[in-house]
Symmetry: C2
Subunit: 342 residues, 2 copies
Amino acid sequence: MTGTEPMTDPAANPADPELLSREGVLRAQERLARRLPMTPVVRSDDLDELAGARLWLKAENLQRGGSFKMRGALLAVERLAANGSRGVVAQSTGNHAIAVALAAAPYALPAVLVLPEDAAPVKIARIRAAGAEVVQIGSTLAERIALVERLRAERGLDVIDPYQNADVVAGQGTATAELLAQVEAAGGRLDAVVLPVGGGSAVAGACLVTEGQSILVFGAEPVAVPALTEALRAGEPVTVAARHTIADGLRPDRIGQLAFELAHKRLTSVLTVEEEDIAEAMRLTLTHARLLVEPAAATCLAAALRIAADGWGDDIGVLLSGGNVETSLVASVLAGAPVGRS
Amino acid sequence: MTGTEPMTDPAANPADPELLSREGVLRAQERLARRLPMTPVVRSDDLDELAGARLWLKAENLQRGGSFKMRGALLAVERLAANGSRGVVAQSTGNHAIAVALAAAPYALPAVLVLPEDAAPVKIARIRAAGAEVVQIGSTLAERIALVERLRAERGLDVIDPYQNADVVAGQGTATAELLAQVEAAGGRLDAVVLPVGGGSAVAGACLVTEGQSILVFGAEPVAVPALTEALRAGEPVTVAARHTIADGLRPDRIGQLAFELAHKRLTSVLTVEEEDIAEAMRLTLTHARLLVEPAAATCLAAALRIAADGWGDDIGVLLSGGNVETSLVASVLAGAPVGRS
C-alpha cells in the first residue's frame, strides 16, 4: 500500500503531480501557513465522556469561508492566476464554490460556480457576496460536470474540480496535517482520524498525509448517499441512487476518480450515518463543544462516536469540515424536529 | 490614574495583594499557561463588514467549563487547597460556580455553590456533574451572599467570592492579557476591548492588565440590570432594581466593591444593551462566527457593534465570555421569538 497512486489522467491535473504525496501536502501546508487562520482543535469533556474516548475536533467551521475547502481553493486559484488564467469555473454543493469565489476575488479573476438546484441558500448567498456568478442545475454530479464543461469551452475558463485537482486534494489534506501537528503539540497522539465524504477530497488528502503513519483513516457519509461505500464495493467510483440528506455538503452521488484512487487502499473503513444521528451530532457539537457546524461535519462526529464505541482507539481526530448551515435548519434540529430516516 | 487601587478590606482577600496589578495578572497568566487550553481569537469577515471594524473575538465559550471564569477559580482553589482548606463555598449566577466545582474536583475538595432560583438549568446540571453541591436561593446578590456567609460559618468553608477574591480578579484578567497577546501575534493592535459586566471581575481584570496601555476599556451590561452604570453615577456600588434579562450571567444587581474600585477610574465607559439586541447578537455570533455563546457574551458583541459604529476604533477586542446556554433559548432566539424589551 503506497497511498501515492499515479493519477489516471494527469492532463486533468495541471498542478505539480508531486503534490499528491505526504511531502506534497506538507509543502502545501507551508504555502498556506501565513495566509489562513490556524483553526483550533477543540476539546469537550462532555463529548469525551459520551464517546468514552478523547475526541480532538478540528474546527474548520471557523476557517475562512466557513469550511476547510478554503485550503485547496486558495492553492488552485493562486496557481491558475500566476499562469495567466482569464477566469475559473467549478462545480460544488457549496463550500468549494464559496472557497473558490473568495480565493478568486483578490485577483479580480471572474469565477463561475455551478451548484445543484437544492443547494443551501446560505451557501449561494456567500458565493454572491464574494462577487462571483452562481449557476444552478439539477441535483446530480453528472449534470453539474456537464455544465462546467460547457462553460469552460464557451467562456475559456479554467476548471477547478473539487475532487480531481491536485492542488485542491493536497490543500484539503493540510487540514489533517494541521490536526496531527496540533494534537502532538498538545501532548496527544491520534489513533484514528474521521473525515466526511462528499466527492472524496478530504479522505484522499488525509490518506496522503498519514501515509506511512500508524493511524487509522475513516470516512463518514450519509446512509442516503453511500457513494464511497458503493465505490469500495465495486472497486471503482459508481453513481449511486441518492436520497435526500440534510448533509447538503455530502450529496455528490459519485466519488471523484482521483480521490478514490488516492484513498481506497489506505482507508480503514467508511461508515454510513442515519439522518437522525447527523441531527443529533449537530446538537451535541453545539451544546457540548459550543461550535456551530453544518450537517456534513456532524456526520463526521456521529461516525466518530461509533468508532469510539467500537473500540478503534482512545484518541480520535474529527474534521469538523464546515459551518455553513441554514439558521432555520439549526433551529429545527435544536427543537428536536424529525429529520426523516434514510 | 493608577488602576491598582488598594483594597478596601484586605482581610477579605487572602491572596497575594500584588496580584492586583498588571504584573500580577501577567504572573497569573504564567501560572495558568500549561493548565488551560489557549482559546482561539476568532475573526469573521461578515461580522467585520457589519461592524465596519475588525472584531477580534476571544472565544472563551470554548474554555474549560464553558467560560472564562475557569481562570480565576483555578488559581483561587489551588491557593486554598495548598493552604489546607477543608472545602469551599461560592455564590454565582452560574459560570463561576461551574468553574469552582471543576477546579475543586481534582483536590477532592468539597464545594458548595449558591445560585439564584432562576439560574440557567444547564449551569446547575454542569455543577452537579462536577460532583459539587448546589443550593439555590432568591434572585438578589444580597440573598446569595448572606447564605454563603452562613455556610462559611456553619461548615468552616472558605469563600471564593467572584468579585472580591484577588486570585479570581487577576485570573479573569488573563483572558484579556491573552487576547492582547494573540492579536499582537497576528499583527494587529487593539484600540478597545469590551467586557461583559456581571459583578465586575472581567472589567476589573481588563483594567488591571491594560494599565499604562493606550487602549480603551468598555463594559457592557443589559439595560435591565445597569449595575455598573448606576455605580459609576453614584460613585460607589449600589443595588439596582433589576428587571428580567436573558443574560443570566449578568443578573448580579450590584457591582462588587473590589471590582468597582479597580475598574472605575480606568474604564472608558459602560454601554447598556436592550434584550432584543442581545438576542440578535447571539444569532450573529452563531451564524457568522459559528460560535455558540451565552447571552452575556452576546451582550458584549452587541456593545462592540455600537462602539464600532460610534467610531471608537478600527480594532476591537470582544470577550465572548461563555457558552453555557439553554438549547431551548438558542432555538427560540434562532426562530426570532421576541425576548421582550427591557
